[in-house]
């Protein structure tokens, strides 16, 4: 591995713990600073002040926040994320894992679909510049990209569940395949995947179209065409590769959108995933669960961005020299 790349990776890797620390500490502090005392909730309305004090001592809630934080992180590293106050007595890890699995299932499908449909679609649209299909595709992409998930879901529900009656309007079912619970192969998975893929594809297609159009204008494309290469060769071998480079940027955006979107999707469709859990936990002040979700979510996101950056640094040597993607 060339030296430039190695330094680059190391530098990015060092950033990871720092960012995680800041994010987790901020969330932790917010949780402890929040006005509603979950000990009081747990103890119940008729608890004596002494009982409450005792519980606080036991759980170390009277220690200064940084101390509590260190203790929490220490536990978290061994997989102990505390006990959920909402699901009385269940370890947070047990509550989170199955829901994480559900959310991951449909999100991965959406991600794959979004890029495998969006990229070619965008390329196709760019090549149609000047024809009647160009403004049409711009309009269609724009429309689908602008409709928030919040609105598209009820609409899709109305269309498929109420009018056509072909899809269940919500919920989630799982079946076992090869010993693993999969919810993907049931009708329940179709609505969320559809609702997330439509704007995703539109966004990716829009972006790709712009990229391809820029590349098409460049000299080396004109050279390739002048050389007499077939149009399809030009597109695949030269245009596509160069247009793809900045795609990693939107991969990041798509990922963030998915994480955020899952909260709405799951709330609206009643899917027991991590988005719904996050929302419920915030409403019920289940701070241990919230912390765990934020930690996991941020870590996954940051790690993914890191991998993307590294791959990008690999592909485009200029990055290693300049040191960052900006």
């Amino acid at each position: 591995m060339p030296a430039g790349l190695a330094t680059y990776i190391i530098r990015r890797l060092l950033l990871l713990p720092l960012i995680l620390f800041i994010v987790s500490f901020a969330t932790f502090a917010l949780g402890r600073y929040a006005p509603v005392d979950y000990v009081e909730i747990q103890a119940g309305p008729r608890a004596q002040p002494e009982t409450i004090e005792r519980i606080r001592e036991e759980r170390g809630l009277n220690d200064p926040v940084p101390v509590q934080y260190v203790r929490y992180m220490g536990n978290a590293l061994t997989g102990d994320f505390g006990i959920s106050t909402r699901y009385q007595g269940f370890p947070v890890a047990d509550v989170i894992l199955p829901r994480l699995w559900i959310t991951m299932q449909y999100n991965i499908v959406v991600l794959v679909l979004t890029f495998s449909i969006g990229l070619p679609l965008g390329t196709w649209a760019a090549l149609r510049r000047g024809t009647w299909q160009d403004p049409l595709s711009i309009g269609v992409f724009l429309l689908f990209a602008s409709v928030p998930v919040l609105i598209s879901i009820p609409l899709l529900q109305w269309l498929f569940s109420v009018q056509l009656g072909v899809l269940p309007s919500g919920g989630w079912s799982e079946a076992e395949y090869l010993g693993v619970e999969f919810g993907l192969f049931s009708k329940h998975a179709i609505l969320p995947i559809l609702a997330l893929t439509l704007p995703g594809v539109a966004g990716v297609a829009r972006y790709m179209r712009g990229q391809v159009m820029e590349v098409l204008d460049q000299d080396f494309v004109r050279t390739a065409n002048a050389k007499g290469l077939k149009a399809s060769t030009v597109v695949t071998r030269h245009v596509a590769r160069n247009a793809l480079l900045p795609i990693v940027t939107i991969l990041g955006f798509e990922l963030a959108a998915l994480i955020g979107g899952s909260i709405f999707i799951e709330t609206l469709l009643g899917i027991p995933g991590i988005g719904l859990l996050a929302f419920e936990s915030i409403k019920t002040r289940d701070y241990d669960t919230i912390m765990a979700i934020v930690l996991i979510g941020s870590t996954v996101f940051i790690l993914t961005m890191l991998v993307i950056d590294v791959v990008y640094g690999f592909i485009d040597p200029r990055i290693r020299v300049e040191g960052s993607m900006s």
């Binding site: 994010v23 917010l30 006005p35 955020g260 996050a278 934020v294 960052s324």
Partner: protein, 294 residues
């Protein structure tokens, strides 16, 4: 105008935003004005968009909600975009070195987090505190309208959005500043003794306006969507203050979708129109302002 599409987009934005701004004078009914004799009314002269489950005029509700959208998105773009984003970008790009690294690391941190999650947590945990703070201010100054106007929740919403939104603008400004820094006229200005502030504001900023215009336009759509989403989840603007998010949350649910889809269609259409117009405008602006003429 050579670009009818852009004109249409601008008209839509002006109409919706304009309605939001003059809402108190434009809306025939209040946001929560119920009329139980008239529930689920069909569109009529009196209620051009019909009424909802409590007989509230949908057109008026939309106009009031537009007002919230205007307030939140403008406030967020001005604080997050302008104040935070532009200053950070200017500082990072122009000063370079340590300042640049620090600011960029901060931007990375804020950008590395799935925004909505943190905004959720912040608004959910801090809202009561902010309200308490507002009450204290009320006691101190004797202005008793602060809390009831809903200012705390508005403030928290656009504050949270601004805090997590500034990174995009900052990054864009920074790269532009980096490339402009080398320009001869900047060197000339410095040679003639211009101070840093003067260079920043008189020479660099005007060249950023194109970029900023595009960036702001595109952000507005996202901000509007974010506000709707947050309010829908219950942690944005609080009832009884109007919001499209509130209208939507009251319109979802299977029985509503089945029997009264109009409850969602009305706010939904407004939001989609608005977001589409912003995106369209942003695209058109990019085309117009970009150096290559297509």
């Amino acid at each position: 105008m050579r670009r009818p599409v852009a004109v249409v987009a601008i008209i839509i934005i002006v109409v919706i935003y304009g309605a939001g701004i003059v809402a108190p004078w434009l809306a025939p009914y209040g946001f929560n004005e119920a009329d139980f004799q008239n529930r689920y009314a069909s569109p009529s002269l009196e209620h051009p968009l019909g009424t909802d489950n409590l007989g509230r005029d949908l057109l008026s509700r939309s106009i009031w909600s537009a007002q919230t959208t205007v307030i939140v998105s403008l406030a967020a773009i001005l604080t997050g975009g302008l104040v935070l984003g532009v200053s950070a970008g200017l500082a990072a790009g122009y000063a370079g070195g340590r300042t640049d690294s620090v600011i960029m690391r901060a931007a990375d941190t804020f950008a590395s987090v799935p925004t909505i999650l943190l905004v959720l947590i912040i608004t959910a945990t801090l809202l009561p505190r902010v309200i308490d703070l507002a009450r204290d201010v009320e006691d101190l100054t004797g202005a008793d309208w602060i809390v009831s106007s809903g200012a705390p929740s508005y403030f928290l919403v656009f504050g949270a959005l601004a805090i997590f939104g500034w990174t995009g603008i900052a990054r864009v400004v920074r790269s532009q500043v980096l490339s402009l820094r080398q320009e001869p006229y900047i060197t000339a200005a410095r040679a003639s003794g211009a101070g840093t502030t003067r260079i920043l504001f008189v020479h660099l900023m005007p060249n950023l306006t194109n970029l900023l215009l595009v960036a702001f336009t595109l952000s507005m759509g996202a901000l509007a969507t974010a506000e709707v989403g947050l309010t829908f989840l219950g942690i944005g603007v609080q009832p009884p203050h109007p919001s499209f998010g509130l209208m939507i949350s009251e319109g979802v649910g299977l029985s509503n979708v089945r029997e009264h889809p109009i409850l969602i269609i009305v706010p939904g259409t407004f939001i989609v129109l608005l977001v589409m117009s912003f995106n369209l405008l942003g695209d058109q602006l990019t085309d117009v302002l970009s150096p290559r003429h297509r």
